[in-house]
Each structure stands twice: as structure tokens, then as C-alpha cells.
Amino acid sequence: MSAARTRLPATRKRRRLYAVLAGLTMLGVAAALVLVAFEDNIVFFYSPTGLKEKSLRPGQMVRLGGLVVEGSVKKAADGVTTIFSVTDLNQAVQIRFTGLLPDLFREGQGIVSEGTLGPDGVFTASSVLAKHDENYMPKEVADALKKSGKWKQPNATPEAGK
């Protein structure tokens, strides 16, 4: 009986120790995973001006956002590659993209693309986003435009039915 009584608190303590150790191990593993993943997988966003100022590692994935330059959209000979330029109204960068452009892609529209900058200064995009809403300006693009001083309030009037 007394043996059982002395064993009980020890077990309770040990049990708690196991749980805490397991928890700490898990946290350590998670922290390591997160740090390693952050190292490799964070994608920075640049405006065309920012992209030209920065020196990127070759092959580094970045996001590039801006307004599609009016009249810049061309089709390559294969019929499925589109070449166009984006601008923050300061600088422009040419983008090459093979694939289906999003439904809302059009000239003058704000878009965000993800890809790599080639040595020839042409950005090869693996994805182009122009999301969801007619009046939607990707936040990054809006901020980049504000930075370059070219921001105009989009005429998204809340007035209904006009």
C-alpha cells in the first residue's frame, strides 16, 4: 500500500515530464522545419522599379506586380505563350508566360506574376494572378503605385446601379 502511495506521485510527475518532453521535441522539430522552409521558400514581391534595383540570385523566385502596359500584349508563335509588360508607371518589365491567362487579365489591369528574371531582363512567369474582382487591384500593386507616386483612387464607386 505504501509502495503504491510513493509510486503514484512519481508516476504523475514522470507522466508530465514525458508530455513536456514530447511537446518540446515537437516544437523543436516544428521550429526547425519552419526555419528551413522560410529560408528556401519565401518569395519577395517587387515592383518593376524594385526589380531593376535589386540584384537577384539567378533563378530566384520572386513576385512581380504592376499594371499591364496598354498595347504590350502579344502572342508568341506557338499560340500559347503570351508576352506583355507590366509597369508601376516608372519602369516596365517584359514578362513571358506560357499558359492560360486568368479571366480578368487585360491591358491596364493590375496583375501579380510569380517567376524568375532571366539574364536578358525578361521575366519568365510560372503563374499570373489577376484575381477575383473587376475593381480589384492587388494590394501589392496598389502599394507599389503609391510608392512611385502614380496612385489614383480606382473609380470603384459604391453607388449602386450606375
Binding site: 503514484l8 508516476t11 504523475r12 507522466r15 514525458y18 508530455a19 514530447a22 511537446g23 515537437m26 516544437l27 522539430v29 516544428a30 522545419l33 519552419v34 528551413v36 522552409a37 522560410f38 528556401d40 521558400n41 519565401i42 518569395v43 519577395f44 514581391f45 513576385r63 502572342k75 506557338d78 499560340g79 500559347v80 506560357t98 499558359g99 492560360l100 491567362l101 479571366d103 480578368l104 510569380e114 484575381k131 477575383h132 474582382d133 473587376e134 480589384y136 492587388p138 494590394k139 501589392e140 502599394d143 459604391p158 449602386a160 446601379g161 450606375k162
Partner: protein
């Protein structure tokens, strides 16, 4: 007139909520039965008020009353009735009313079905629930009035965002909200228990069914949302680790942990403080999710309007609710006494492992979601954390989770026999090896994760089946006995096996869908063909079709496999009249193992179209697995009355094998 009634009903609900938040709480503290008794009827009244308001809004949308700003901005007379109705929650204001409607619905259900709850616990729970309702009603009335009028009314409305005009998305918000908001009840129970200073098996028995309802609906809502993204966005992807998706996924992860830890409280009277904490965190993450998608911090299809006032109100609400409940926890939780002892290798131990892994997974998703927002707020640097980050952090946590899940249910409570459990599921090892080899062979050179993922999914599916077969005595008793045992098995046991099996199927689908997809994109003319893994898509025609509120270009593809006609796929591009917005309607053919997926791209002048076709193996399993998980949750829920009706104060008792036949 009708909108004014709705507005008035909301104000009335606010007043009732205020009374209900205060009076029963004081009553419970002073043991005043009369004051406590207010909680139940006022919960019902509160629900009826909000239901009236919601009904008024729904009616305004249904009859296209464009003198209401909200209707004018988010609906159109040409929309089919179902989307007029769906427009009710397809906007910020309406979706907040739906939020509160479900919040008060849960309160009313506790009031109505909680007859044998201890009166103190009931009063406090409903009071806490009412505090949340009060805050959100105030939020609606101060910043997001859905009943604002417009004079003069416009001739027609501005239409619901065309992307949302889809049956999957008409259903997605209500489902998701029942899940999201349903966790509020677990939260209210947790806060009430902290105030009371008592958590016992009966408490867990009360919390579990509510958590289970919320969990089942949240699962359904997330799966529906994912399904929508898959076929409506036309990118062939099903999960983007978009912050908005993560916002609903985090409560799901912690909610799943809560569901499991509540079992330990109920059966073994252990893990009490941890369970309370999980209940608080789950609902806090629901609130954070609501904040993220509603405040305009994130730009997405969910962020209907960006209004800084709303963001600040919600931020304050968040700080008060989460900070307050965590403070209360820090103050009161140490007084809750722990119960049953157990060895590390035991059912409890396995459930703790489940909780640790799920909590860790939630933490990584949380960091990946919030870090870019914080960095932007602090330094102005803009980064995005996309799928590679989550694949590198989340997946390595899920694999041990699935591996352990195969063993956990086989371990006994208190002290398990690992070697014995592993011995019982020898076949599962074989299944895992076979699945790994097959997957490795089929996906050779694509990704190591494919083989590993399918291997653990096979392991889980096999061990779930073995455990279930064991339980109903396959191979030990004659077939008739097996059937009788299966029918007599508690529904919660059925539910567990189904949900775990569904998870295995979903894991297999997720693995397959992530690592293996073939796509071909080409610019073709009518009569041309595109070939993908042995399937030949021939573009037969492209025609114009008129829908109720859009014009569509519809392509017809004849799909052949080995020269034999298989099916016809008809993808569309729709241009909606009002918003002049184009949407893609992908066309799908599924054989249960893989999807063929065709998208019609932009016309390319001279009678050419860009088309994209995908071959997506195992994607159907995602939806099937999700559906089986939801089914598991619902089946387990039918066990509820058995559990609730059972005498409440015998924590150490295993679930009695109930003899009642399945009805």
C-alpha cells in the same frame, strides 16, 4: 417596411443579448434560480429575432428590392432564384448576419436540448454565448448595417460576383459558418467551466456532440470550398494554402484536436486544462479567421469591402475575447485537478500525440499565414509564403500523424500493448509496403513524397479496416454474428472508423493530386486534337449559349481513349452582363480514380482557341474522402442521445456495447 422590421429585430436581439449576457451570470454566482432561468428563453428569443432579421434580408434579396443598398450592390433581377438567395450571404453585411444567426441558433439549441444540463453550467454557458452575440450584433449595427436604404432605388442591381454564382459556393458559406461558429459553443462551455472551476466527464459529454456538429460542418464547408476552387477557378488546383483557406483550416486542425482530447476527459477524466485551452484556441482561431477574411487585411474573393473602421472594431473584439479568455484561463485553470493516470503507451498517450501533432501543424500554418502580414505591417517588405513552405512544414508533421493514427485506436486505455497492437495489424504493414511500391512505380521520378504519402495512407486504411473487422469479430464468429455485432456497435465506433478511413482516402487523394498531374496547353482549331496520357480530346465545335445573366462560349470536346468514344466535355467561358466579368467553367469527367479536366481559354482571332486539358489522378478521392469523414462525424453524432442519456458521473467506464439495433 420589411427591411425596417429586420433592422428593428436586430436591435431587439442586441438588447436581449445584453440582458442575457449579464443576468444569468449574476444569477449563477448568487445561486438565484430565477435569474439563471432567464438564459434559456432569452436564447430562443434572441435566435428568433436574428432569424427575423435574416429572413427579412433574404426576402429583400428574393424579391430583388433594390431600394436596399445591400441588395442593389450584390444582386440582380436576372439572377436565378438560387443565386438571389445565395447573394444574401455573398456580401459582407449579409454574411455577418448569417454568422450571428448561426451563433444564436447554437445558443437556442443548447437552451432547448440542454434540459438535463446542470442549471449553473447552462446559465453560464448561454451567458457567454450571448456575450459573443452581443459583440457581433453591435458590430453589424454600428459598421455593417445590411438594411440601409437607397433613395432613389436603381433600376437593377450590380449582380453578385460571378465567381460566386455557383452551386458549390452557394452552399459553402452556410456550411463553413456552422462549423466555424459552432465552435463557439465549445468555447462558451469552456469559459463557463472555468468560471465554475469544475470540469468533469459530464462536462466533456456535453461538449463533445457540439464540437462534433461543428467539426462535421466545417469539414464539409472546407471540402466544398476546395471543390469549388478546383472546378471554378480553372487552374486544376484544389488547395492553394491561400491565407483565406488557412483561416478556415486552422480552426479545423485545432478543432480536430479538441474533438479527440474531449474523449480523454470524458472517458478518463484527464487532460482537462488542455481541453479547455483547446476549446478557447479553436474558437479564437475562428475569430481570427473571421477577422482575416472580413477586415480586408487580405484581398481575396472573401474580402467584400475594405473599411478600416470594421477592421479596428474586429481587432478590438479579438483582443477582448481572446485576451480575456486566456487571462481567465491562466487564473482559473491551475485550480482544475487532473485525474486518471496512464502510461505513455496507451490510448491516452496516443491521443496526446495526436493533439501535439495537430497543435504543431496548426502552429506552422499560423506562422506561414501571419508572418507575411506582420512583416508587411512592421517593415513594409512584401513577401508571400506559398505552397512550398507549407509542403515543407505541414506534410512532415502529417506523415507521423497518419502513421500513429493507424496504431492509436488499437491501444487500450491506461496501459497499452504496443507490440501486441502492431502484431494485430501485420496486414497493415503489408498494405503500406504494397501501396508504397505501387505508388513508387507509378510515380517514379516525380517525387519521393508520393510513395511515402500513399504508403502511409494505405497503412492507415488497412489498419482502420483491421481494427473494425476485429471489433465486429470477423473470422472469430460466424457471419450472422458479425452482422449482429456490427449493428450493435456503438455509432461512435462506426463514426470513428468511417472518419479515419475517410482521412486515409483524403490523404491518398491529396498526395496523388499534389505530386502527379499532367497538363497540355495548346492553341487549336475546330477539328484539331490534343492528347494527354492516352486520352484524345477533339474540339468538335465552339458555340454561343445564353444563360440567365450571361453569354457563354461553349466548346464541345469528344474524348476518346484508344480510339473509343468515352465522353463529351463541354467547358465554357461565361461573360456576365452586369459586371462584364468572365468566368471559366471547367468541364470534368471522372472515373472515380482520376479526372479529365478541360478548360476553354481565350479565343485567338482566326478561329483558334487556347485550350488546356489536365489529367488529374486521385483528385476524386479528395472529395470522396472528405465526404466519408463528414459521414463519420454525422454517424457518430447519432450516438449522441445514448451518450447524453447515460448516467453522467462514471468517468472510468468504457462505452457500453449498446444492444439497440441501428434504426
Amino acid at each position: 417596411m420589411i427591411p425596417e422590421i429586420g433592422h428593428f429585430a436586430l436591435v431587439l436581439a442586441l438588447a436581449v443579448a445584453l440582458v442575457q449576457a449579464i443576468v444569468p451570470l449574476i444569477g449563477a454566482a448568487r445561486s438565484n434560480a430565477g435569474w439563471m432561468a432567464i438564459a434559456a428563453p432569452s436564447s430562443v428569443v434572441q435566435f428568433l429575432c436574428v432569424a427575423t432579421a435574416f429572413g427579412a434580408l433574404l426576402y429583400s434579396f428574393a424579391i430583388s428590392d433594390f431600394s436596399v443598398v445591400n441588395v442593389a450592390q450584390n444582386s440582380n433581377s436576372l439572377q436565378p432564384m438560387i443565386y438571389k438567395i445565395a447573394s444574401t450571404w455573398g456580401n459582407h453585411e449579409g454574411s455577418m448576419v448569417l454568422w450571428v444567426l448561426i451563433l444564436t441558433l447554437f445558443g437556442a439549441m443548447v437552451a432547448l436540448f440542454g434540459g438535463n444540463l446542470p442549471p449553473n453550467l447552462k446559465a453560464r454557458t448561454l451567458s457567454v454565448q450571448s456575450m459573443i452575440a452581443f459583440a457581433f450584433l453591435l458590430f453589424i449595427l454600428l459598421t455593417s448595417n445590411p438594411f440601409q436604404r437607397l433613395d432613389p432605388p436603381p433600376l437593377d442591381g450590380r449582380d453578385l460576383n460571378p465567381l460566386l454564382q455557383d452551386i458549390g459556393l452557394a452552399m459553402h458559406p452556410p456550411m463553413l459558418y456552422v462549423g466555424y461558429v459552432g465552435f463557439s459553443i465549445a468555447f462558451s462551455f469552456a469559459i463557463a467551466a472555468l468560471i465554475e472551476g469544475k470540469v468533469d466527464a459530464a462536462w466533456a459529454r456535453w461538449v463533445r456532440p457540439w464540437t462534433l456538429i461543428a467539426w462535421s460542418f466545417l469539414t464539409a464547408g472546407i471540402v466544398l470550398g476546395s471543390w469549388w476552387a478546383y472546378y471554378e477557378l480553372g487552374w486544376g488546383g484544389w488547395w492553394y494554402w491561400d491565407p483565406v483557406e488557412n483561416a478556415s483550416f486552422m480552426p479545423w486542425l485545432v478543432g480536430t484536436a479538441l474533438l479527440h482530447s474531449a474523449i480523454v476527459v470524458e472517458k478518463r477524466d484527464a487532460l482537462k486544462t488542455w481541453t479547455i485551452l483547446l476549446a478557447i484556441i479553436t474558437f479564437s482561431l475562428s475569430l481570427i479567421g473571421t477577422f482575416l477574411v472580413r477586415s480586408g487585411v487580405l484581398t481575396s474573393v472573401h474580402a467584400f469591402a475594405t473599411d478600416p473602421e470594421r477592421g479596428i472594431f474586429m481587432l478590438i473584439l479579438l483582443i477582448v475575447a481572446i485576451g480575456g479568455s486566456l487571462l481567465l484561463y491562466a487564473w482559473r485553470a491551475p485550480q482544475l485537478k487532473g485525474g486518471g493516470l496512464f502510461a505513455p503507451i496507451s490510448r491516452e498517450g496516443a491521443l496526446i500525440l495526436n493533439n501535439l501533432l495537430l497543435a504543431t501543424a496548426t502552429a506552422t500554418v499560423f506562422i506561414g499565414t501571419m508572418y507575411p502580414l506582420l512583416l508587411d505591417a512592421i517593415t513594409g517588405d512584401k513577401i508571400s509564403v506559398g505552397p512550398p513552405f507549407f509542403n515543407a512544414t505541414f506534410v512532415p508533421i502529417m506523415i507521423p500523424l497518419i502513421a500513429a493514427l493507424g496504431i492509436g485506436p488499437l491501444l487500450a486505455w491506461k496501459r497499452g500493448d504496443l507490440a501486441g497492437a502492431l502484431g494485430r495489424i501485420k496486414l497493415a504493414f503489408a498494405a503500406a509496403v504494397v501501396a508504397t511500391i505501387v505508388a513508387g512505380y507509378v510515380t517514379w521520378g516525380r517525387s519521393v513524397f508520393g510513395a511515402v504519402g500513399l504508403g502511409v495512407a494505405g497503412w492507415l486504411a488497412a489498419s482502420v479496416c483491421i481494427e473494425f473487422a476485429d471489433r465486429i469479430g470477423v473470422g472469430k464468429v460466424p457471419w450472422r454474428g458479425v452482422l449482429r455485432r456490427a449493428a450493435g456497435l456503438p455509432r461512435s465506433a462506426w463514426g470513428m472508423s468511417l472518419a479515419h478511413l475517410g482521412f486515409a482516402i483524403l490523404a491518398a487523394g491529396a498526395t496523388g493530386a499534389s505530386i502527379w498531374q499532367d497538363e497540355v496547353i495548346e492553341s487549336i482549331q475546330i477539328g484539331d486534337s490534343v492528347e494527354i496520357v492516352g486520352y484524345e480530346f477533339t474540339l468538335r465545335s465552339v458555340g454561343k449559349v445564353r444563360g440567365p445573366n450571361y453569354m457563354a462560349e461553349r466548346a464541345m470536346f469528344d474524348v476518346r481513349k484508344d480510339g473509343e468514344a468515352l465522353t463529351t466535355l463541354e467547358p465554357e467561358r461565361r461573360r456576365f452582363f452586369v459586371q462584364q466579368m468572365e468566368t471559366t467553367e471547367a468541364a470534368l469527367y471522372s472515373n472515380g480514380f482520376a479526372d479529365l479536366y478541360a478548360v476553354l481559354g481565350q479565343a485567338d482571332g482566326d478561329e483558334r482557341w487556347i485550350v488546356k486539358v489536365y489529367f488529374r489522378p486521385l483528385v476524386p478521392w479528395l472529395w470522396f474522402g472528405g465526404a466519408v469523414m463528414v459521414l463519420g462525424g454525422l454517424v457518430s453524432l447519432t450516438d449522441r442521445r445514448l451518450r447524453v442519456g447515460a448516467p453522467a458521473r462514471k468517468p472510468a467506464r468504457p462505452p457500453a456495447p449498446v444492444a439497440a439495433p441501428a434504426e
